[in-house]
Symmetry: C2
Subunit: 342 residues, 2 copies
DNA sequence: CTGAAAGCGCTTACAG
DNA sequence: CTGAAAGCGCTTACAG
């Protein structure tokens, strides 16, 4: 550290006690007399001493650091998660070490992560290779895949029930009497999109309804806008669009209104997934499926804390129930409308 | 660390070299023969060894950690900053240690921050007490106040030219012929709001125009919505509203359209500040002042890196030029319209 | 180039 | 309760 960093030795000298005593004064529960503690604390105050958390970590093997990997923060679901997770972890005495990743450099980043001896890893970006996941297990570092999972993975995962949520949302659309329901997919290799699309398809086929059209928006704004235009370049307009997440849905609605002059929901219904803050904005009032951040974060922290304290890594897969949030971006069947207004 | 963590000693044994040799093999530029390096690297690979960055930090006094303090991520300016800053820092070999703060517990959090021996601090939340700022100077830790400043502070700061930006934006409104221009303020104690409001007032008074009405939205969505309603509860409607940031402006526009049935910009002009991603969405097309994140982050990283390497903390105040982004949420004077469309 | 050794700032048995 | 000492996992002069 730079010039003025004070060490326990200096405090000891000033307080006329041993360096061990200084250490004890800052260790809750250590056996130390009130008198000595007071002298140490006074001296520390005077010198501006703060225990070195890094040195402590080297000694105890506990860094109190949790690595969080994120690919992008454009979809506002992630900032909300980051904030909630950070506060929850801080309340437990842990701090987040943040890593922004790109598609493709996940493993490289993880190598770096492990270097910091973090006590846990939350992957809110792509997932890690199985080799690395194995290394984490070997090293005893719990890994939680957040909002994603890999079948047969060694890592734990926390997701909402994307399949069921999508089913219920699709049901809503079908009940409202829509005939031509289109689907705009997110990133096709993501577990969220796979499950949501599977839920959509399951409900559609159960109702004996063909999927009107399908386009891919890759979870980006631009992708969603282009997908929407392609949808309307084809013959036979959809009367409803199931968009794989909210972030894309805003782009879809904007194109619908602005480029195509359509009214939502009068001319066409649009639903999304996530329930990010903007979904509740009056400009969108998006009907969507809520991914309940609080319970998801709680589950994540619980897994982490439990495995850290038990010093054993076991794979857990948590599925948090999803909830349909009915707003005004879609037409509603009369009986649903009544139920909602009540 | 847990069970399977490998140390340099174990690698040394397997490679049949000294522990120092292992350390050298992982220190770029250290004097070591290719032969020994290779043996070490092979052994390390075999055991899954990674140097302990924490121990390294204790030894070298360089943690390669930068603390970032944020209060909330609701205003999407901050997630964008966080992502950009994180990538810029990572490119320099630094990692972000994230701290979510609340109003009021800043100092407490800073104490914790210092414990981790971070090499720099970016305050994108409230600012720290002068006592603490002094301690940071004493300890040689550079502090950058991001998007805020404190007069006569010991900390460096990076801001955009809020005053000038606000003036130019106000000019745009005046030139368009608006007569009743209202102002919706953000957090009144923030430097951003003070400067923006000062710029607004300066331009208004220079033009000999009275401020129509003023309300406070405190930089929150709810605050902005209520402020808008209060604005219209008063006698004499505004024909333009200068909102202190984009985040609030979206709420203002939504209330205007949704609750009051007004058209933007036909019935009323609205402008914001920041140029967050949503400002460009077709649903808003908000005229605003861009706070250029890239240059701001670059300046921040430059200050940090320079002061870290020179091991000297000096107070620097960077003002990045702001830029008016003309979109469609406000009426435009004919000559401006022409200039823009060109 | 290489190893033995001292040192970084701590924690924590071990004796008293 | 208290201090001297060993140890955590590294880095880095110092000799060879």
């Amino acid at each position: 550290m730079a010039k003025g960093v004070v060490t326990s030795g200096q405090v000891a000298k000033l307080a006329k006690v041993s360096q061990s005593a200084v250490s004890r004064a800052f260790s809750p529960g250590a056996s130390i007399s009130d008198d000595v503690r007071k002298r140490v604390l006074d001296a520390a105050e005077q010198l501006g001493y703060r225990p070195n958390a890094l040195a402590k970590a080297v000694n105890t093997g506990r860094s109190r650091l949790i690595a969080v990997l994120v690919t992008y923060l454009d979809n506002h679901f992630y900032p909300v998660v980051l904030e909630t997770l950070s506060r929850a972890l801080q309340a437990r005495g842990y701090q987040i070490l943040l890593f922004m990743t790109d598609r493709g450099n996940q493993d490289e980043v993880i190598q770096k992560v492990l270097t910091y001896r973090v006590e846990g890893i939350v992957m809110a970006s792509a997932d890690m290779s199985s080799t690395l996941a194995q290394q984490c297990v070997d090293t005893g570092i719990p890994v939680v895949l957040f909002n994603r999972y890999v079948p047969n993975s060694l890592s734990s995962s926390v997701v909402t029930d994307n399949f069921e949520g999508a089913r219920k949302l699709t049901r809503l659309l079908i009940d409202a009497g829509h005939q031509n329901i289109a689907f705009i997919a997110g990133a096709e290799d993501s577990s969220t999109n796979k499950d949501r699309e599977a839920g959509f398809l399951a409900e559609m086929s159960e109702a004996g309804m063909p999927v009107h059209l399908r386009e891919v928006g890759s979870y980006t704004m631009e992708g969603a806008e282009e997908a929407t235009r392609r949808l309307f370049a084809a013959r036979g307009r959809p009367d409803a669009i199931f968009v794989a997440n909210d972030h894309m849905a805003f782009g879809v609605i904007d194109v619908l209104r602005d480029d195509l002059g359509l009214k939502v929901p009068e001319d066409i219904s649009v639903v999304g997934f996530d329930d990010v803050p903007e979904a509740g904005w009056k400009g969108y009032r998006l009907t969507t499926v809520r991914q309940p951040v609080e319970p998801m974060v709680r589950a994540t922290v619980d897994i982490l804390m439990e495995q850290i304290s038990s010093n054993s890594v076991e794979t857990r897969a948590i599925i948090v129930p999803s909830q349909v949030i009915v707003r005004r971006s879609c037409r509603l069947a009369p009986f649903v409308r009544e139920a909602v207004s009540r």
